[in-house]
Symmetry: C3
């Protein structure tokens, strides 16, 4: 590969990580419209088997807004272990570890989740956008969902 | 932008992240002078409304040394979600997620903090230095401070 | 340094971080052979003073397999604060923070570890491999090991 291509891929990795970070930041600051703006118009979000897959940036904003207003007093989404694989110059898949802490409005004990985000990203005229998000759980304590997608441990 | 500028910015991002990592490592190893050496001579550190803003590398070393000797038996500062925005080629602001675990000398229950560092960095002849640090909290459990700056959740 | 060298080092940093991430992912998915494939043939793994140093990829797979099958119901290894220092173009040392969560098969309370990986990496024909791994602990709660190497806090 030539140097320009290599550097472009390094820049893309940094930009994609920043989209994941922006998702966390806007979620934790209760900014559902800003969360939704990180997704493509027809993106799908699948938080687990207990809820329907959310389709499209508008529905994402509306659905997240309900949880952020009615369920959580505070959240903190710490991501790490971000692994990005390019499918093409303009599309990538990523697996990201999530350690999320949640304080509930109803006074339930703080919930902790040790999970994974499986993302698909596509490049748009406005930069990288999330086209798919699936949430999986390695484990959880006092979390508000009883059933989650597993991480695929043998 | 030309390739040299783009690569320089990628290198700067890596160097700035390493300063944040060095802060955590020296803090957790009880090396207050090494922590202070990461700051500019006139840097400000604001850990929250309960304590006065610390000004200058010398005061930072002295102040941190007290906490490291008298409050903590052990700490572990895990940072992630680092987002860096350049103000100029030689100055940057960053928001970093912090998950910090603390064991206290007085036998109090371990304290956990889910926080944010807001940094300003400037380039010096000796590399990137911290010019400002503000600590915010999304939440905490059994933490030794009752009042913290909020993260700005709506 | 010329641009090609600088970009090569940035790529190497990304590749080395991905090896650390792959270790966590394969460990958490109970894939001991895939974990072992990340190491050199004569690599050493030292998880602490309670267990013998493991030598060689084959022994690593066999030893890890026992723990993954007999001790853990689930694990989640969240790494961050990765600091890489090159010893030569083809060898590097790294310090990585680890926040690890463990659920035990025997029903013991979940174990948490706030640790450090000290790695040595070497470049092979098949990319970067782990030549050495030492695990240290800043602290732990309900962890299945009583004695760990300390992080060197003064």
């Amino acid at each position: 590969m030539d140097l320009t291509t290599i550097v472009g891929a390094l820049e893309d990795r940094q930009a994609i990580a920043d989209v994941i970070h922006a998702y966390c930041d806007h979620f934790d600051r209760n900014e559902p419209e800003a969360v939704a703006a990180l997704f493509t118009a027809h993106a799908t979000v699948d938080y687990g088997p207990e809820t329907a897959t959310i389709v499209g940036a508008e529905a994402i904003a509306a659905t997240i807004a309900v949880g952020l207003e009615q369920t959580f007093a505070a959240t903190s989404h710490h991501v790490s272990n971000i692994r990005i694989a390019f499918e093409s110059p303009d599309a990538a898949r990523a697996v990201t570890y999530l350690y999320a802490w949640h304080r509930y409005l109803d006074g339930s004990p703080d919930g902790e989740l040790w999970g994974r985000y499986r993302h698909r990203f596509v490049r748009s005229d406005a930069g990288w956008k999330i086209a798919e998000l699936v949430l999986e759980a390695a484990g959880a304590v006092d979390f508000h969902r009883a059933t989650m997608y597993p991480i695929g441990r043998r």
